[in-house]
């Protein structure tokens, strides 16, 4: 089972929900894994302090030209949609950082002058935090494309019984790569106008993907009606609320798990555990 924790807006509490929820699940179920898919800025490790057992570098195949064989026909530059290859004075020049690794150029080259080189996109780390399996992708600084690394991180998590995915913010390709095969999506939002607006955008994405999802209101308080009114109109369940409590913010700032420091908050995560129970049936 795969549950993704997402939100349109950044900083609404995705990682807080993911880490606390995954930790509580690992106390109840066997073989629970958290997969940090926010590879641009992975933060789950700060709260879970895993012992990293394995680190692997992740690569993307990019073209390299065998100058001896290349006849400068330009077929590779024509097929490339990403301007990763250019023909200058009958010589093919490669811009590997623009390559999406579609494989078109080496398939089309009539003289087999293109071979597969590689570009490092980041690393995948695997480890354990108490009973919880931990996997994270970490994008190389300067690398623009995060989806292939998200895919690689998800693949590492496949073997585990319950997978909790901490997703990147936004609504574009990285988020879609993270959530596209999730069984359920938990959308974390905050009761502010920005939170509501970005939640609406994210809901549109989940509907487009035909996903089953519910909302968590983080920093819940007097402005909850902003989210509640919308959820009611759209018929989206509000799964739970986490109070706007300075003590939670303090735990967060110090990298502590709220449910460990403030056990009374375990209650707030029960409805999320019920989602797992329901999906398990």
């Amino acid at each position: 089972m795969r549950i993704a924790i997402a939100s349109g807006k950044g900083g609404t509490g995705k990682s807080t929900v993911s880490t606390n929820f995954a930790y509580l699940l690992s106390e109840i179920y066997d073989d629970v894994a958290i997969i940090d898919c926010d590879v641009e800025e992975p933060n789950c490790h700060i709260f879970l302090k895993p012992v990293v057992e394995k680190t692997e570098t992740s690569y993307l195949s990019v073209p390299e030209i065998n100058r001896g064989l290349c006849n400068g026909c330009g077929k590779c530059t024509d097929i490339c949609q990403f301007n990763s290859l250019a023909l200058v004075k009958n010589k093919v020049i490669v811009f590997p950082e623009l390559c999406h690794s579609c494989g078109g150029c080496w398939l089309i080259c009539p003289v087999n002058a293109i071979f597969q080189g590689k570009r490092e996109i980041g690393i995948i780390e695997k480890g354990i935090s108490e009973k919880l399996h931990f996997i994270q992708g970490k994008l190389r600084i300067g690398e623009a494309m995060s989806p292939p690394l998200i895919k690689a991180a998800k693949k590492e998590g496949l073997q585990h019984n319950i997978q909790i995915l901490d997703c990147p913010p936004g609504t574009s390709c990285p988020v879609i790569m993270a959530v596209n095969d999730a069984d359920y999506i938990v959308m974390v939002t905050e009761p502010t106008p920005f939170g509501l607006y970005d939640l609406k955008l994210a809901v549109d994405v989940m509907k487009e993907l035909n996903k089953d999802f519910g909302i968590v209101i983080n920093r819940s308080g007097e402005n909850d009606f902003l989210i509640e009114d919308y959820a009611k109109t759209e018929n989206i369940p509000v799964l739970t609320r986490i109070n706007d409590d300075r003590r939670i913010a303090e735990c967060y700032s110090k990298g502590e798990l709220a449910v460990k420091e403030l056990p009374e908050y375990k209650e707030a995560f029960k409805p999320l555990i019920d989602v797992v129970r329901r999906l398990n049936k």
């Binding site: 807006k9 097929i79 949609q81 913010p169």
Partner: protein, 292 residues
């Protein structure tokens, strides 16, 4: 022309509220909202759209079921698992590379430009805003960011403005790289949490990677003074100027609800500190201009 870009690495540090407030203080400038897949600046700036444009982010493939012979070639060569077992292309997974289209033995695949969003030139109470809306589940946000930044330069030129203020997106990937490339100065907004520091360090590395000058401001500095100290040390060690410290304040949410910038909402502590930050930024931008 000077371009000031505000980024944060981590989301939710107050980047957009601060950007809108800086825009309220700056004179004679053009604003750009480069957080194209979760743009919020318009909620404060209430833009009146003057020009609306379609954004074509790239091409997309589709199989013509009538001519398809179900040979499986496209499914074999697609690196993005976009071809389903029934030989339908999943538009969400399709990367737009066209490899299937080129290699289909019976030419059953169409490969056409697809509409992936809209972008706008608008008027606000502080000046022109160039902004965009990426379509649902669309890609190529980097290309859209580049598009609207280029347009903002034209608008600035036409209106004799010499400053562009850019609200960037969270993270360090494609839209962020497209937002900061060629910037005169980057302002990193961080917060004293371990995640905030971790993310600010990564985004600072990114500015170094692209050789762009950066400075830092700490929002909610008083929620953890120990970590604020840690950020100050990081700044000293990396020779990056700490340009201001904004206290934690409910003004951020309250101003948002009133659809006002922090400057308009109150002249309290937050507002004063942002004014200080703006004065320093203005001087830094002048220095940069003189240096070039």
């Amino acid at each position: 022309m000077k371009e000031l870009v505000i980024i944060s690495g981590k989301g939710g540090t107050g980047k957009t509220s601060i950007t809108a407030s800086l825009a309220a203080l700056a004179q004679n400038m053009v604003m750009v909202d480069c957080d194209v897949d979760a743009a919020d600046m318009h909620l404060i700036l209430k833009p009146e759209i003057e020009i609306k444009n379609d954004f074509y982010g790239g091409k997309s493939a589709a199989i013509n079921q009538e001519s398809c012979i179900k040979c499986g070639k496209c499914k074999d060569i697609c690196k993005f698992d976009a071809v389903t077992n029934d030989f339908i292309i999943d538009g969400v997974k399709c990367e737009g590379c066209g490899v299937c289209y080129h290699f289909c033995p019976v030419n059953a695949i169409k490969f056409e430009e697809k509409l992936s969003g809209e972008w706008y030139e608008s008027n606000t109470r502080f000046g022109k805003l160039v902004h965009a809306k990426l379509g649902v589940a669309e890609e190529n946000s980097g290309k859209l960011v580049t598009k609207i930044r280029n347009h903002a330069r034209l608008v600035a030129h036409k209106n004799n403005c010499n400053l562009i203020i850019v609200d960037g997106s969270p993270g360090i990937g494609c839209p962020v790289i497209a937002s900061i490339s060629g910037a005169s100065l980057v302002l990193i907004v961080t917060e004293p949490t371990l995640s905030g520091i971790h993310d600010a360090e990564r985004v600072f590395e990114l500015t170094k990677h692209f050789k762009i000058q950066a400075c830092i401001c700490i929002n909610k500095y008083d929620i953890n003074l120990e970590l604020t100290k840690k950020i100050e040390i990081f700044c000293t060690e990396n020779k990056i100027e700490l340009i201001g410290k904004i206290p934690y304040s409910k003004d951020f949410t309250n101003a948002q609800i009133k659809e006002l910038t922090l400057i308009e909402y109150s002249d309290g502590e937050v507002s004063k500190e942002i004014k200080n930050i703006w004065n320093k930024l203005e001087n830094k931008l002048k220095e940069r201009e003189n240096a070039l």
